[in-house]
Symmetry: C2
Subunit: 254 residues, 2 copies
């Protein structure tokens, strides 16, 4: 997040790991809620109303915010950190459906047609999520029509993204899958630097595989080939996209 000074955080958040344990401050919550696309266009007092009705929760890396099948009782907005949504197949393999960052929401509620969570939500980094109970969310939807419209537009957009993923999984070879996944992640979380776009989200090759519909070994072979060709650079938990144009080209060819 580029905001820098980050609005007077009184809590002694030295840096890095320590911010994880503490729930975020009221200031941070208000700032994040105002920036959340779901609440775009709301008046300040409406934002404060939402804030008053939500409950902050600090999460540790790897911690599950909720599990598949648990009753759908909350919607979450990410204040800081990243959360990944995943399902596990019967044989134990994982599928990562999406990766969300600050300002994005996830979860389930009867108003969205779900009685139970339809995936696991796991914190990737330390951070803080704001929980809205299903009843609260429903009340907001009714009281503030704009939120319903925002939610509709955002969900439609996600549906479109999911359909593109279906398209990719149906047609692309593993090499193209990995290229597409890297580009998708870079567009959302990449930090542009001198050597290229850097991805750092505690993302392992296992995660990449689970997002690309393939195995860690195959991901590794593809990455090795990319590295030999000078397209990417990578290490333990990080990736740098050095030649996005070439990756784009790969993505579009079978």
């Amino acid at each position: 997040m580029p905001e820098g000074d980050g609005v007077t955080q009184p809590v002694g958040a030295s840096d890095g790991t320590s911010e994880g344990a503490a729930a975020c401050s009221v200031d941070v919550r208000l700032t994040m809620l105002a920036r959340t696309p779901l609440f775009r266009g709301l008046e300040d007092h409406e934002i404060e109303g939402v804030n008053a009705r939500c409950r902050a929760r600090a999460v540790q890396p790897g911690e599950l915010v909720f599990r598949w099948g648990e009753p759908a009782e909350s919607l979450f907005v990410i204040a800081t950190g990243q959360v990944k949504l995943m399902e596990h197949a019967s044989d134990g393999r994982l599928v990562v459906l999406d990766l969300f960052g600050p300002g994005e929401f996830f979860g389930s509620a009867p108003a969205l047609g779900d009685d139970a969570y339809t995936y696991d939500a796991q914190a990737v980094t330390a951070g803080c999520v704001l929980a809205l109970s299903a009843e609260t969310f429903e009340r907001i939807l009714h009281d503030v029509p704009l939120v319903a419209l925002n939610a509709l537009a955002l969900t439609s957009q996600r549906l479109r993204d999911a359909q593109q993923t279906v398209h990719a999984l149906s047609t692309l070879a593993v090499e193209a899958q990995v290229a597409a996944t890297l580009l998708r992640l870079a567009a959302k979380f990449g930090e542009v630097g001198p050597a290229g776009t850097r991805l750092e989200a505690a993302l392992t090759q296992v995660d990449l595989a689970a997002m690309s519909g393939t195995t860690p070994e195959s991901v590794n072979r593809v990455l090795s080939a990319f590295r030999r060709r000078g397209l990417v650079d990578s290490g333990r938990g990080w990736f740098v996209l050095k030649d996005r144009a070439a990756l784009e080209a790969l993505k579009d060819s079978h």
Copy 2:
């Protein structure tokens, strides 16, 4: 095909083959709009208001309702018939994203976050679709909050379905894919009969392949195996699921 000129044909032929060429009658339109989940809970006069603002269009099998990339100017509600949504890959292969029937809606509008259609919409059978202009749809969304809530719930549900498709494509072998696709179609369009659930939607094995992320040849081999095992029966353009339990079991095993 029967006559092609027909406009506003009186109620007359309520079903059967003759309904194809003609745009549907006002009665049919009102009945269908009242049944459409998108407009669930609306008062009669509101339904009539929607009907007054929409434009009926008859479609022939194979006819494109709209193409990928055209400006997103309409939302469509299916009155009769079936419509499939598809994308075509760079190499020409098709991917069928979804198959919709009476009462379901598709299309794009700026209110949903799209400036252009994100897929091709092709009529599978003869039928009639009702078109709402983007401006009209947006006006309805604002004037009738219930529609926005319905749209949100329906879109969320579709997103969930798409995520399950992603999960399936990421983990399942071709055999399981085909089983899953057949079950999904049967749940939505199957007609229960003495011999099993029958699928008849002018669905070819090519379509099945495009929905299962594989090739027509592979689909055929799988179907042949299923037929030998007594799980399904199939012919030119139709399928009968004879043992749904066995197919369900297949779907869940790698």
